[in-house]
């Protein structure tokens, strides 16, 4: 019995020591920490975000570090779960004592962790969240980078309006970002006097959209707009063909913008419209865009998508703020991030009074011959959009 007690005490002490490692970093390092979804449903886009940040860390260390100190990036897995991410930020800020924080991926997780970063007054550039409501709660330490989710489908609505299509169907996944995108689309449709004949949500686990699409067909919709991530956008595209439903416009958020969309769907992906924050298209004309694409492609063997671009851009902005402040003091950083006005390869960073990046707009592309070609807004247009989409049986056979 005595042995047992001794053993258990020893085990408890050992466990406690393992569980609470003091920040193991060297004092001369600048530690940048955050939660990221290494596993779980967000791991794909979150991985791109991580790649973008990694590229920056390697570069900044090569050019001598931040304020003369080496930078270390500490990203911990939040399992794509908001409550885990909350615990992680608390740990990073109070136990690991990181110097700077980076944001998690996805709107729900950012929404959840914003309370923690706010409590510890740690400024954060949210490169993985586009939902405006996160900034509508009087928070002072969170800064937007990307264009608002409400605007994702704006381009598609405007094209529909211009072509004189009247009946719009909007479907979206039941989650923070997709919902905001769908609501935005409905708002713009109303503004242009279009009729929203269907607005429906589906759960995150949905893979079978056939009944929903039959409904779209029965309602005789001209355009289908999807507030979607990858799976749902791909499944809807396939099932549109299976059910032989011909739409004049089919536009979706996120999904079509991922390289895998064209790879997986092949010819089915043709003509799908997709919204994007950014595309690896030098013609966008942002400063350093060409160099960034090249550097990224060299390091990771593929062109960056917009998530990777955001991850990299957020780090550039943070770097700039630190340089301007001349120290890692969080209040000073906050002040810098509030008043910074900066152009990067990704576009303009300039936040409004609520901390949201007002300088950033959305783009719309169409997949043509397997390539994403910008079609909206007109000033960035590469080619004119092909609308109405050709009927399934009028397309060249595969």
């Amino acid at each position: 019995m005595k042995n047992l007690k001794g053993f258990m005490t020893a085990a408890a002490v050992a466990a406690a020591m393992l569980a609470f490692p003091a920040g193991a970093w060297a004092a001369q390092e600048v530690v940048v920490g955050g939660a990221i979804s290494l596993t779980g449903r967000y791991s794909e886009p979150a991985g791109r975000l991580k790649d973008g940040r990694t590229l920056w860390v390697e570069e900044v260390n090569a050019r001598g570090g931040l304020l003369g100190r080496k930078v270390r990036l500490v990203l911990r897995d939040d399992r794509s779960d908001p409550s885990t991410a909350v615990k992680l930020y608390e740990r990073l800020l109070t136990q690991e004592k990181v110097d700077l924080c980076v944001a998690p991926y996805s709107s729900p997780i950012t929404e959840a962790t914003a309370s923690i970063t706010e409590r510890y007054k740690c400024p954060i550039v949210a490169d993985g969240a586009a939902t405006r409501s996160i900034w509508g709660k009087g928070r002072k330490y969170i800064f937007g980078l990307v264009g608002p989710s409400d605007d994702y489908l704006r381009g598609a609505v405007e094209i529909a309006a211009k072509k004189g299509y009247k009946r719009i169907a909007i479907v979206n996944e039941d989650s923070l970002f997709s919902k905001a995108a769908a609501n935005g689309a409905a708002m713009y449709a109303k503004k242009h006097g279009l009729q929203v004949v269907l607005k429906e949500e589906y759960p995150r686990t949905q893979t079978d959209f056939r009944p929903l699409l039959l409904k779209v067909k029965a309602l005789n919709a001209d355009a289908l707009l999807g507030g979607s991530y990858f799976v749902d956008a791909a499944a809807i595209t396939r099932q549109l063909k299976e059910l032989n439903i011909n739409l004049k416009i089919w536009a979706a958020t996120v999904g079509p913008g991922l390289p895998r969309f064209t790879k997986d769907l092949g010819p089915l992906a043709e003509y799908v419209l997709g919204s994007t924050q950014w595309e690896p298209v030098p013609a966008l004309g942002y400063p350093g865009i060409k160099e960034f694409i090249a550097k990224y492609a060299k390091r990771f063997g593929e062109k960056p998508n917009y998530h990777a671009s955001q991850g990299y851009a957020a780090m550039l902005i943070l770097e700039e703020a630190v340089k301007k402040a001349g120290k890692l003091d969080r209040e000073a950083l906050r002040e810098q991030l509030t008043k910074l006005d900066m152009m990067t390869h990704y576009g303009r960073y300039k936040v409004g009074p609520d901390g949201f990046n007002s300088g950033k707009g959305l783009l719309l592309f169409q997949i043509l011959k397997g390539e994403r070609r910008l079609v909206w807004p007109e000033e960035s247009q590469e080619v004119a959009p092909v609308v109405p989409l050709p009927a399934w049986d009028k397309r060249p056979t595969m």
């Binding site: 409550s83 740990r91 409590r119 923070l176």
Partner: protein, 332 residues
């Protein structure tokens, strides 16, 4: 079972259980409890916020595993959806705090109470189901709640979840969690050492025989189920407030149920201390593995569950009991 007892069975037996313990041993036990409580009370003063939270979430699992133990360990009805009560508590607190501005601590009794109401509501029909059917029904009902929380947007915010106003809450929630954990364990102790607890165990061992031997099984199962729902509801409320954000998928998360079960099993289900020990060990181990080898974490956990079930089904307490280090039974 001394010789004296065998020779003179008519000798006056002690009037209560406490008297049975030698005074020294009882004092030692009391001292141990007081000491551990005392160190838990001091803890926030000694460490940083993360370490407070670390222990807090451990306490959360002490509450959850101990509560699950009441219906499933003592009574033998395997609740495979116990996180539902946790979720109800979470949403009660979150809604009242975020939308109606209640102080969080006032919402807790209501959080527990609503969980009990739900338990009473579903327990009446479900506790008639036997074995696997009860387990499946609990799992199904948890999914029902999850989908309702997802779809009833006006109340729950749907998939958007609910954000509560920011607050400095680490220490206050810690003490609340500590109090709830202490009360839960105390309740389990009281149940285990009462005839109520023995009758629950009788239901677990043989429901028909228990009923034939005068145990009003239907009523007792209901009581056990409702008791096992209360504290998860309360701790659910505290956790929601601690995180300041909840959403359906991670609130009605089946993995939390499995955690409760595995912890109770590891420590030894049907005992008072088992779930506490199991929660402490498994929670610490999980945090460690996940922090250092995230990709392995769940694979290792799955393997761990299988190993426990196959090789130590009666848990640590069971092992100690078999070794004779801990007495069999609570009434001696």
């Amino acid at each position: 079972m001394s010789k004296r007892a065998l020779e003179a069975p008519a000798a006056p037996a002690p009037a209560s259980l406490a008297e049975e313990l030698p005074a020294g041993k009882a004092a030692l036990q009391l001292a141990a409890i007081a000491l551990s409580l005392f160190s838990f009370v001091l803890w926030p003063g000694l460490v940083n916020v993360y370490q407070i939270s670390f222990v807090f979430f451990g306490l959360q699992y002490v509450v959850l595993a101990s509560s699950w133990n009441i219906i499933s360990g003592f009574t033998g009805y395997v609740s495979f959806g116990h996180v539902a009560f946790f979720g109800i508590g979470s949403y009660t607190t979150a809604i009242l705090v975020a939308k109606h501005g209640w102080p969080w601590y006032l919402t807790l009794p209501l959080a527990g109470l609503l969980a009990v109401v739900w338990a009473a509501f579903i327990g009446f029909p479900c506790l008639r189901l036997k074995g696997p059917y009860f387990a499946i029904s609990m799992m199904g009902l948890n999914e029902v709640l999850r989908v309702v929380a997802l779809s009833w947007e006006s109340l729950t915010g749907g998939g958007l979840g609910i954000t509560m106003p920011n607050a400095e809450n680490s220490v206050s929630t810690y003490y609340a969690g500590l109090a709830v954990a202490a009360l839960t364990v105390a309740m389990c102790y009281a149940i285990a050492h009462s005839r109520f607890g023995l009758r629950l165990a009788a239901i677990r061992e043989d429901e028909t025989a228990a009923e034939a031997m005068g145990v009003p099984t239907t009523r007792y199962k209901m009581y056990a189920f409702m008791l096992s729902a209360f504290w998860p509801g309360v701790i659910g409320g505290i956790v929601a407030y601690k995180l300041l954000y909840i959403e359906p998928d991670s609130t009605f998360f089946i993995a939390i149920t499995v955690n409760m079960i595995t912890m109770a099993m590891l420590g030894g289900k049907g005992t008072v201390l088992g779930p506490v020990i199991g929660a402490a060990i498994l929670y610490t181990a999980q945090e460690l593995v996940w922090w250092y080898i995230p990709w392995l974490h769940l694979i290792a956990y799955g393997a761990f569950i299988i190993l426990i079930v196959l090789f130590v089904p009666r848990g640590i307490m069971g092992y100690l009991i078999d070794r004779g280090w801990v007495a069999k039974g609570v009434i001696q």
